[in-house]
Symmetry: none
Subunit: 219 residues, 4 copies
DNA sequence: CATGAATGAGGGTTCATTCAT
DNA sequence: CATGAATGAACCCTCATTCAT
């Protein structure tokens, strides 16, 4: 929902603007983000922002859905549909982690949408955001069961819900201050979270899902 | 961290005040909550709030930890330590659901703490909040493995992390606007979320955990 | 519709505030008046204005009706109901002229209400404002006809409308920049409008009404 | 005071532009009118407006005098100079009412000029606007007195002032929200103002003037 | 200790005008 | 000449906090 004006400005300027907006919203939250500061950071005038978007709300909505789309492409654009479900899940977690390594603001913005006072945004974005992954996971789980690589006694809808839930928790644990601390507490990590602990945590999580979904070996 | 003054006012007034504060923070978020409105709703003067607490921040911190303590009591105060881990997990989910049925604001406040711009609160509250449950789950998982009712090949720390993660997702799905929509999408629920769908969802989730953790039946 | 707060402040401060508000609205018009400037002029903080009134609109509405009430008292509070209609009309014009001599802003505010973009205010104030005078003039005209001092062939409603219309034109001609020029043009007044020309104009206008309403002398 | 550029654009475009400008100023008032909206409505670019006129103020001034000229033509262009004064007055009221039926924005713009904060415009336009009618009415009144159809005891200047004043009140009562309500109150009209009530009101007003000015019948 | 009036920095938004293309 | 993106000064209003009573 940017205005026409926004579509007509140079690509580089547009990227810069959206990037600064995402960083600002992620850093201060929706309410805390100051349009004046965004203008300064993005190198445009305050007035220009309102030539690009109707309102702060409109901008936030677009920044969210733009970043959601970016993340979707980063993950699903590089996935081979012939992989089995475990390879796919591993890929999702891996490329998700890589994506928020490059765009640390993404997860924070995602969590923003679920904060109180954000119901307006929830309504506008939740369905669109979740449907794609929901459909994909269910389809792959069904294929996995048919292929005998996933336990047949699992409820597909709930399992998809849970796998995606673990994905959200995983990413949250990498980025949100609160969930980082929570992860450190549970995983008994001392000190800062390093790329190594992240990689290890990723591996453990994926293995865990593997273990939980795979049918018991038959003699 | 309330001031002395707050401890000296009548119990009923104090309860009313904390309750209204929680409802307001949950309804509008930290930034959106207006101290003037709280004064009006709680039936005290604006000046009095600052006789009770140093600042809005201080109040929010206390409201969070107070409600966390409440929820802990609602859950762990009614739990029989002799129950096996599955009964305990069921109890946690059930009493958690019951607690936020009575205190719908609780979960929203919990999620508030993980929102961007809330790092100050994360740091102050996360460790305290999570340690208790983390320790408890790990202990019970260890006992479950020792007793042979939990798969021995699971990583205890990660499993505790995941079980509690599912608990957070479960409660979030009941209360946060965003996560409600997400649940509806995954579980393919049409229309509003009723007590029945909630109960059913709880049952399925607990069953699922059961299925995932229990060792395969040995021939 | 001031808030309670406004009613509780010292009388002198309240008077000063209302006076400065009237002057400002009269000087700059509704749209041109700046709440910040009002704060400075009235010696209160910007925030206080919003403790007194809901909004600029609300304030304007009150300033209008407050001044209308003041003018009503200045005119009708000093009128002897036993006077005949000509004496009453003379009194209305005289005390009206005196009132806007003391409150030059009044007439400008009155005309503000009829400006484009002010429909919201028109609806709120017009009926209340006009009814009182309308009723009074009609009653006196009826008495005048009954007493044989007013031509019986006049339509009472329209005559009341016209007499009051001439009153509005008269006062407008004293205060509004535009209508002052118009008066100078019609009355062929050179140079500034002095108290003497005002008095003379008043006298002529009242005489004119007299002449128009009085029945032709019967032989 | 349009720039040369404005005179060189196609007639139809110029008409459309002036018409939209008049409608916008009438609808929102000078301060409320937005040059961007005018550009959109008139189908020109914002930049073009400033190729046509120096400023918003300049444009407003021109729109006013242009419309004043239009109304003058509508009224005096169709008047037979041989008619007696009563027929002329009737014609002025009738064609005035017809003109603002077709150009409802005109009267509102006229009243705009007398609003507070508009002194700059008053000074520029008032004399020019009023002189023509003032001169005409005085001339006709003098002729009427000479011909014995107007009471000789009337002050010509004041009577011209009043007759034109009633004309302004009459038109205002048809168009301005505030004066419509005032008219309804005085004339005791229930519900909306229809063409019939307008016609009737016109007739009564003209008759009234007739009655007031005509010398008493001599035996 | 309670009250609620006062404060003023700050934030979102508007809009007349400019100017490079 | 036309265009429309850019500008930034204003402006209305909010709200956490203070403080005199």
């Amino acid at each position: 929902m940017p205005k026409e004006t926004f579509k007509n400005i140079p690509e580089a300027k547009r990227q810069k603007f959206l990037n600064e907006a995402a960083l600002l919203f992620a850093g201060k939250g929706y309410a805390g983000a100051d349009m004046g500061e965004l203008a300064r950071r993005a190198g445009v005038s305050k007035g220009s922002i309102y030539n690009y978007f109707e309102s702060k709300e409109d901008l936030f909505l677009y920044v969210c859905s733009f970043n959601l789309e970016l993340s979707r492409q980063a993950i699903y654009g590089t996935m081979d549909p012939d992989w089995d479900i475990y390879r796919q899940i591993e890929h999702i977690f891996e490329s998700g982690a890589r994506f928020i390594g490059d765009h640390p603001e993404f997860m924070v913005i995602y969590l923003s949408m679920s904060a109180p006072g954000m119901e307006q945004f929830s309504r506008a974005l939740a369905r669109e955001t979740e449907k794609f992954t929901s459909d994909h996971l269910k389809r792959e789980l069904a294929k996995g069961i048919a292929a005998g690589v996933v336990r047949a006694d699992l409820d597909i809808k709930l399992t998809a819900f849970i796998v995606n839930g673990l994905y959200i928790l995983f990413l949250s644990s990498l980025m949100s201050a609160y969930f980082q601390i929570r992860m450190s507490e549970y995983m008994e990590i001392e000190g800062a979270i390093t790329p190594e602990t992240t990689r290890e945590f990723l591996q453990k999580t994926v293995d865990h899902i593997h273990k939980l979904l795979r049918p018991p070996a038959v003699k």
